[in-house]
């Protein structure tokens, strides 16, 4: 089979196994020790790049939380058809979930994960279920207002535990 042929047009028994291709290693050549480049001090410096953007992240996330609030207000005032805003809230929560921990805000990732899951679970929420969403948004606001990094210790456990109890009750 040629490279441009559609492989899904193969016959049922036609399976090609192509040996590993060290394409990038070949480009790098014999004199580049990639293991040395991608380890130790170099990784620490690469992590510094991420850490240096922590303040930027905090600015972005404040805007995301404002957008969550806007979506929430629209959804609650249009409770008969909140689907578009629920979808948008899930998307915003997913973004915070994905990036919080990257910048050291692991608790924010967990809260946003719970919010993302809940929004997807209840696309047409009741008023009580909207209260659960409100609590998640408020918790995210508190995390960044008080700059709660990592898992937040005991306070973090308490905040998250409260949310998960609410989610369980109203799911």
């Amino acid at each position: 089979m040629t490279e441009n042929q559609n492989p899904l047009e193969n016959s049922d028994n036609d399976v090609q196994i192509i040996p590993p291709d060290y394409a990038i290693k070949k480009i790098l050549g014999d004199n580049v020790d990639i293991k040395a480049i991608l380890s130790g001090e170099n990784i620490a410096e690469a992590q510094e790049v991420i850490n240096d953007h922590k303040n930027d992240f905090r600015e972005w996330v404040v805007k995301d939380i404002e957008s969550l609030n806007d979506c929430y207000n629209r959804a609650i005032s249009n409770i008969a058809d909140p689907s578009a805003d629920m979808e948008e809230m899930a998307k915003l929560a997913s973004t915070i979930k994905a990036h919080g921990g990257t910048f050291g805000y692991n608790l924010a990732t967990l809260v946003a994960k719970s919010l993302d899951k809940f929004c997807n679970k209840v696309p047409n929420p009741t008023v009580e279920q909207m209260t659960v969403i409100r609590k998640h948004i408020d918790t995210l606001s508190v995390i960044f207002a008080k700059n709660i990094e990592g898992d937040g210790g005991e306070i973090g456990k308490e905040l998250l535990g409260g949310l998960l109890t609410l989610v369980e009750k109203y799911s």
Partner: protein
């Protein structure tokens, strides 16, 4: 703007690293820029950015790309459809390109869907420099055989444990 440049690289090594063409595909340009700076800090300087799969394919048709680092959720063409297109389309610009899926979609079904679409490595968001470096190292140092069949096109999935997310990011959540 702060510049991130690698330390202690000889001219020869820097020139070699510059030959590796990397494409980052993410609709969140802020995060894509950070990933780019992380790579630049390690010495990879030939980096292009695309906001979605369609733009990524356009860039890949314009010149050789050796490694794709793609997000999942994008539109109009998301990351998983980009991977499927690259692996199976008759018009793929490079069926065999190394692909890292960098995504917040971390449920088991997502990992399996990405694997079945033909990704090379999987990095979950939140991510650390170490997790990303580990996966880049794996695809350079330990590439897998490539399977072309009626039902699957991509790196051999039998090295399954290797593909599943690892690193402290996941376990600590």
């Amino acid at each position: 703007m702060k510049q991130y440049t690698p330390k202690n690289l000889s001219k020869e090594v820097a020139e070699r690293l510059a030959l590796v063409n990397i494409l980052i595909v993410d609709d969140d340009i802020k995060i894509a820029s950070i990933v780019r700076k992380v790579l630049e800090s390690l010495g990879f300087v030939s980096i292009k950015l695309a906001r979605d799969g369609t733009k990524a394919l356009q860039i890949m048709r314009e010149g050789r790309i050796d490694m794709v680092i793609t997000d999942w959720r994008m539109s109009p063409m998301d990351g998983i459809n980009l991977v499927k297109y690259l692996r199976t389309s008759a018009n793929s610009p490079n069926r065999f390109v190394a692909i890292i899926m960098l995504t917040g979609n971390v449920e088991r079904e997502h990992v399996e869907a990405a694997r079945d679409a033909g990704i090379t490595e999987f990095v979950i968001k939140p991510f650390s420099a170490k997790t990303l470096c580990d996966r880049i190292m794996a695809l350079i140092e330990s590439p897998r055989g490539f399977i072309i069949s009626k039902t699957f096109v991509g790196p051999d999935r039998r090295r399954r444990g290797h593909l599943l997310p690892e690193g402290n990011d996941r376990r600590n959540r």
